[in-house]
């Protein structure tokens, strides 16, 4: 690189780094505030400003949130609800991903009359506000005998998650050449053989996307969790809500923040560890789709 160019580039590079780092700060501040607050004492929170470091560091917020805070008549923290959330999220994520994969496969490689219409209607399904469906869904689940059971809740999450998973898989599979399917058909492979032996092994990136997206959505969901779970199998978001919200009680913000962090931990870990697969997979579909 010549001197002329270097002189021309330097200030703009500084500006770029400046903007990027400033953005980092903006994105990080809320997390920092949550962390700092979770280590403060309630008195400290009342008197000091948000970004001030705690005067005495204390983990009481965390231990309380984990094992002592009340979420109803039980005062055993949120730890028990963690497991509940997994019990709900894991099957819901897996089923909706599998269904989405099948749908995407059919809608891209086995198009039938009305396939496009079905896809369009699925897409529109992404935009239905969930508040609308609470009552009819409750009635339906009641009729099915699945009201306030974990299978019922899983069904709800699958219903409202399958639109997105289908979208992901369909866009991904559209980019895979049809010739591959034709070759497999001539090789004698049937519908399922092609799917499980040919397409699925190629789908790792988009499976990651679907898993991460669905896990985040379902883990973070409150509305369905609170309405369709039964009392003792409530997911962690409901526990968090019960812990944080108080109609006429005292607020302990350090406990609230620690509980919020605990509740967010699985999704945060997923994003930090698997975030790059997520992005890779999402674009793998959209780029060519």
């Amino acid at each position: 690189m010549t001197d002329v160019v270097r002189r021309g580039v330097r200030p703009s590079r500084i500006a770029i780094y400046g903007v990027l780092l400033l953005a980092c700060l903006v994105y990080l501040i809320p997390l920092i505030i949550m962390l700092i607050t979770s280590f403060k004492t309630p008195m400290d929170i009342r008197s000091s400003n948000l970004l001030a470091l705690p005067t005495d560091w204390t983990t009481i917020g965390w231990t309380k949130a984990w094992a002592e805070a009340c979420t109803g008549v039980q005062c055993e923290g949120v730890k028990g609800f963690f497991w509940n959330s997994f019990k709900m999220a894991v099957p819901a994520v897996l089923i909706s991903t599998l269904l989405g994969a099948f749908n995407g496969y059919v809608l891209s490689k086995w198009k039938f009359r009305g396939a496009d219409l079905m896809f369009g209607m699925l897409l529109f399904g992404c935009f239905v506000p969930f508040q609308v469906v609470l009552l009819p869904m409750a009635q339906t689940l009641g009729m099915l005998g699945m009201a306030n059971t974990t299978p019922g809740l899983v069904l709800v999450h699958v219903t409202y998650g399958v639109a997105f998973t289908t979208l992901f898989f369909r866009n991904y599979y559209v980019a895979i050449p049809d010739a591959l399917i034709k070759a497999a058909r001539l090789d004698g492979a049937g519908f399922f053989t092609i799917f499980f032996r040919i397409l699925l092994p190629m789908s790792t990136p988009i499976i990651m996307v679907s898993l991460i997206w669905q896990f985040t959505q379902i883990w973070n969901d409150f509305l369905f969790g609170v309405v369709f779970s039964s009392g003792e199998s409530q997911p962690i978001t409901v526990a968090l809500n019960n812990l944080v919200n108080t109609s006429t009680g005292v607020k302990e913000y350090n406990v609230d923040m620690a509980a919020a962090m605990i509740a967010a931990l699985p999704t945060l870990v997923v994003y930090i560890v698997a975030g790059k697969y997520f992005i890779r997979g999402l674009t793998a579909g959209s780029e060519k789709g």
Binding site: V73, C75, L135, Q139, S230, E232, N242, S247, G249, V250
Partner: protein, 419 residues
């Protein structure tokens, strides 16, 4: 596993098969929104008492928005044909549920325990549908309280105001000294709580009842109501600019720290002071909201009892109702919650001075007609009308140039449209 078990139990119930082990024990599923602090402790005491009687307590806690989330859940469960045994339902909503045929009569228990004698008629009326108890009251909150930081008052050299005019006088002096006169959180229900107190002061109990219980248009659409709005506007002018969205307990914290001098809030605010280690009469004062001494706006928490099919569960449900009104529970619960027992025959010796004062006023106002249901907490009117009033009041409170006359018209038409 648990859900599987539920299925089997449901199956067993529908087939009318009695489980051999559960001769006397039933289970109660209780929907409530007491999830934290003293409330949760109080609810836990209830659970313990039920378990001592051999019943199973299935906790179903949904906090948030003063029970809004819980109501959503309850409606969904009712629609799905799977309601809990008891649900924390307030005020006129009890009647709405009863009208739809969801609730069960508690007459046996009520007769047995002589509820009509224990509970003031004003409150028992709310608990009844077609003359029969369908819900059981748990406690009585007084909404028209003024919480005061005495240090601030002393420094400025003013006394706790007893009328609105005094309040304005005191507030001006406080403001001049750099204090926030009135701590407040700008949320619709808090706006309405202050409005509630101002309305009671301006209208008096009788017109208050006419306006907010009977929806008498002569009172609602009147000069008096215009004056209520005008006074409300003036009270709100002593609130700092940053009140919007603030939680009530944050406002209470402002009073504790001496940043603000007073707060108009129900007696649950006491729990906040207690938690901070403050003693009533010394670190903080409780006084009737200005202009409402001797009057009492009540907010009653209650459990409505849903129709169940299993006999053992019904028995557990009745036991729950009975237990709630037991003196031990009343004392334990209300000490934790800041409210007073719903039974008028209780010994108040173990309660603090604010609660004792509250009980005195409760009983005296119950006799002289100063006892009114709080519209801001859903005791006076349906949720629909309450919502309409909230919209008008909160819009008025957040308006750049509030117009009492126009707002009075809006209030009248809002209530009219919802009736």
């Amino acid at each position: 596993m648990k859900s599987l078990k539920r299925h089997f139990t449901a199956l067993a119930m529908s087939a009318c098969v009695l489980l051999p082990t559960s001769v006397q024990a039933g289970k109660v599923e209780v929907l409530h929104w007491w999830t934290s602090g003293g409330e949760a402790r109080a609810a836990k005491a209830l659970k313990q008492m039920m378990e001592d009687q051999g019943h199973t307590w299935k906790d179903f806690a949904v906090a948030g928005g003063g029970g809004e989330a819980a109501m959503t859940v309850l409606k969904s469960r009712a629609v799905s044909g799977n309601p809990p045994a008891a649900a924390q339902i307030k005020g006129l909503e009890i009647r709405e549920w009863a009208e739809l045929g969801f609730l069960t009569s508690l007459e046996g228990v009520a007769d047995n325990q002589n509820w009509d004698q224990l509970i003031p008629p004003m409150i028992s009326d709310v608990m009844k549908y077609e003359g029969q108890y369908v819900a059981v009251p748990v406690n009585v909150h007084r909404v028209n309280w003024l919480w005061v930081n005495p240090d601030v008052m002393d420094k400025v050299g003013v006394k706790v105001p007893t009328t609105l005019d005094e309040f304005f006088e005191v507030a001006d002096k406080l403001k001049a000294e750099g204090y926030i006169p009135l701590a407040h959180g700008g949320q619709p229900w808090q706006d309405a709580t202050v409005f509630d107190a101002v309305a009671l002061a301006e209208l008096g109990p009788e017109d208050y009842r006419k306006a907010f219980v009977e929806h008498d248009m002569d009172v609602i659409n009147s000069k008096k109501m215009e004056r209520v709005f005008a006074q409300f506007d003036k009270v709100m002018s002593y609130v700092d600019d940053n009140a919007a969205g603030r939680d009530w307990n944050t406002a209470t914290g402002m009073v504790m720290e001496g940043e603000a001098a007073m707060q108009i809030m129900g007696d649950w605010a006491k729990a906040e002071f207690t938690a901070a280690g403050q003693t009533p009469g010394e670190d903080y004062l409780c006084a009737p909201a200005p202009g409402t001494s001797g009057d009492f706006t009540f907010n009653v928490d209650s459990f409505a009892m849903f129709s169940l099919s299993d006999e053992e569960d019904v028995k557990a449900q009745k036991d729950l109702a009975r237990t709630i009104l037991k003196p031990e529970f009343q004392t334990l619960f209300n000490q934790n919650k800041g409210s007073i027992p719903v039974r008028t025959d209780m010994d108040m010796g173990d309660f603090d001075s604010c609660a004792q004062a509250s009980m005195d006023t409760f009983q005296s106002s119950s006799d002289d007609g100063g006892l009114v249901p709080s519209f801001s907490h859903g005791l006076a009117t349906t949720s629909h009308i309450q919502g309409q009033i909230f919209d008008v009041v909160t819009n008025f409170a957040n308006s750049d140039n509030p117009d009492p006359a126009k707002t009075t018209d809006q209030l009248a038409s809002a209530i009219q449209s919802a009736m």
